[in-house]
Subunit: 287 residues, 2 copies
Amino acid sequence: MGELREWELLEELGRKVSGCGDDCAVLPFAGTQLLLTTDLLHQASDFPPGTTPYTMGWRAVAASLSDIAAMAGRPLAVVMAASAPDWEGLFPELLAGAQAACRLVGTELVGGDLDFSEELFLVSSALGEADRPVRRAGAQPGDCLFVTGPLGSTHLALRLFSQGKSARANELFRFVPRVTEGLLLAGEATSMIDLSDSLAHSLHLLSRASRVGFVVHPEKIPLVPGVELEEAIYFGEDYELLFTARPGALPPGPWTEIGQVVEEPGVWLSQQGKLRKVPDRGWEHGP
Amino acid sequence: MGELREWELLEELGRKVSGCGDDCAVLPFAGTQLLLTTDLLHQASDFPPGTTPYTMGWRAVAASLSDIAAMAGRPLAVVMAASAPDWEGLFPELLAGAQAACRLVGTELVGGDLDFSEELFLVSSALGEADRPVRRAGAQPGDCLFVTGPLGSTHLALRLFSQGKSARANELFRFVPRVTEGLLLAGEATSMIDLSDSLAHSLHLLSRASRVGFVVHPEKIPLVPGVELEEAIYFGEDYELLFTARPGALPPGPWTEIGQVVEEPGVWLSQQGKLRKVPDRGWEHGP
């Protein structure tokens, strides 16, 4: 999938497009901030054989809603552009999945565009609002590092798809965008990102945006049963929120502390009293 | 391109997605209305050989901005998701084209998503605002019918592309979204749509939404030099605005009166004192 090249391109886009570089664009409007984001998913990269149209529609929309969640935003509306070789039978189920994901977080699919193409493409764009958007920049040395849930669900789902265990794999693929958690963290989290990329890459993105480093305690990383630590660190597409907060600032909630923010930029695992550098990479280039 | 099937799907989408059925979704927010729209363009359908990456980026973004214009909206921001086999050399030019189209109408590209796929796909989503959005419903018998400019530029561009005259074809492809005209028409136009589809289909959409009919005077339809009347009526993708207004309500402006609104739903050409029914179709199914 050429993940590194995609990352490089996205960083180039970030340099050329002002305001780009968070999970959503932030637009001051009528005394608040509007959030706007778009996500492209397509058959070859994102939907292994066995993925149902319902799951595809759900996942496409949920990916954008996760970006709204990652800025502590409230979703206002979603539109979806979709293209497929043949819509016969596909359209109602795909639409139902997209609408279900929207309703789950209190928003609605309000429009779209449809076309025909050899490969199936789904592009969802979400609009949101945030009084106090949380950005990738803002983590400070001494802050604690958290995730909102166990990592590895997408990695496990892909394994199950490849074993033909599609029912369970589809369930895992239909993740819940962490909108409620994001809203709870408005004004509390000092920096935030969703784990659409790997934990490793996401930490490096936070590190570069906040100009700080992270020491992660691997034994504290919550894992989906059946997933290994390295898979959880380098795989990604889990759509949990990764965020920082001042020590003691957060009440107990649906999150797990997994590390600390340090001054020196970079990412380390603390294992058996030693620090091991975590490279900025995804699974394709993994061990 | 299976236009009729696409239209049927879009109408099915309109029935299943509440609020869908105008050029943009309309979202009441903070005492005004936000507009949200998304458009998908891809190589096989939308970019003939000879189309430059700059033109592709321009046209993708301009298609969404035209939807904002068609609701008498002011664009606030655009995001673009894009996928291509290889971004080498393509990316900077495509981005420059997209940014130029945004700037032309006073807005900005604020973010995007990038990926790799066999076919090139561009999906732009635009956010706008309208105090007084103009919808497809609202035309009344006795109103006059207008277009903002000559029809046939895309048809002519495709002919020029096929003749290898790419420079002029690219120019024609980089249309100006009629945002200024749309804003002038806020509070004046009684119904409006952009001509992303053919004049024939767009009139039928207005007819169904407003429950009225249209009598068009073909000799009044402004044509791009070199384009025949039938081509202008059935081809589409011209992105001019088609709208109605009370007689005498509009000052002279960048628009041409081409017909009247009548009570009986349907679309007719008035030729040599006779009315000829205009079928609801595009060029592929044309004479």
